[in-house]
Amino acid sequence: MDDMQVSMYQLYKNMLTSYLQNKSEHALYHAQQFSKQMMEQDMSPEETVSLHLSVFQDIADELPEEVTDSFDLLLEVMIGYGLAYREHQSLRDRQQELESELNVAAQMQRTLLPDAGINLDEVDFGVVSVPAGKMSGDYYHYDLDDEGNLAIAVADVIGKGVPAAMSMSMIKYAMDTLTDKQMQPGYVLESLNRVVERNIDDDMFITMMYGVYHPKNSHFYFASAGHEPGFFYQSAGDTFTDLEGRGLVLGVSPRMTYKEYDFPLEDGDMVVFLSDGVTESRVDGEFIERDQITNMIRERLDLPAQEIVDEIYQQLEKAQEFQLRDDFTLMILRRKV
């Protein structure tokens, strides 16, 4: 026996002797603490059983043969438990490995999203995007060109988690090749569709809503590739209308064109883009209605855009007991009064 085994043997012997003498709860409490130490030292269940028997044989003068023999059976059973325990340990290590790999990947993914704030005299802008798991299948984008035009976009890859996240990075890289055309929504979607169609599985697709605000004429231009409709809020009449464009989801058919729509934004008017993680939020088991979302926005009209989206996210997260079923992205662009 090596030193560790000698000391474990002695400790166990002291414990068992003390317990047999006075049957105290204190001794049992000791044993419970001791079990943690045994696990730290990687002692298996079968070794524990064997330790118990040899200590017992040492303390008791004469054990009946049946008692000693019965330990053969217990030992055999404990081998199985020991294997399960070791397998559990190795799977736990593996899980930690995967976890940290995922954390690195999630960190990389965050660098694909814009993070600079938008500070414009004309426009108030806010976005919240939260993955259901570690990685997101939602993508959002905003960018200013030299003339002060602001492009915004929300895309949603079907499914969630790692497979969705891998496709999401494709959108980002494809967008980067379009630098000087980013201000033409129809063209952007047409180009992205060609890339996605060539590079995505047959039963996957991506939806996307792309818009550009031109401060010069206060017009908003947008196109949609099968994306969840957004909202257009008109301050004058305090009304919300669906922001919906005709257009096929990205990745189904190689040659598609996307119709471009435009409308003027008056003071206080808002454009809302979202992913289906917002509309498919379930409160008390029921999908929320779209007018529940518009009501939540309406209640917060006096707040800056960023605070509106943050508060709505917090409210829906809480209503779903902090368990998102799908990646959640909500974006608001408002023409300042």
Binding site: I158, D202, D203, F205, T207, G226, R246, V252, S253
Partner: protein
């Protein structure tokens, strides 16, 4: 979540009656049944009158089947869509590329 799929052969067509929710949990089951039918040369009709909910993963299965049927000789038609399901095909623009038979549903 349950999904039942019953495939019947009628006048040289395969008709798949689908019942339940088509979502991320049941999509694999749907794919395993309809993908081989879509790859075959017989026309395929998918009756969705028993389906009240389809999520985006479910939609993907129909797109995969559409692509397969375009490569083979056969066709693919959807029937029996309820309003909510039809709306999903409209939002995604898929009603423009998938043959959706609005009026009738298949007789079981």
């Amino acid at each position: 979540m349950n999904l039942d799929i019953d495939v019947q052969e009628k006048k040289g067509k395969n008709v798949a009656f689908v019942e339940g929710e088509v979502d991320v949990y049941t999509a694999t089951k749907l794919k395993e049944t309809i993908q081989p039918l879509a790859e075959g040369e017989h026309d395929l009709v998918i009756d969705l009158s028993g389906v009240d909910y389809i999520d985006s993963t479910g939609l993907g299965i129909f797109i995969g089947a559409l692509k397969a049927s375009e490569k083979s000789e056969g066709s693919m038609t959807l029937t029996g869509l309820n309003d909510r399901v039809r709306r999903l095909f409209e939002i995604t623009g898929l009603h423009e590329v998938i043959d959706i038979d609005a009026a009738k549903r298949e007789e079981a």
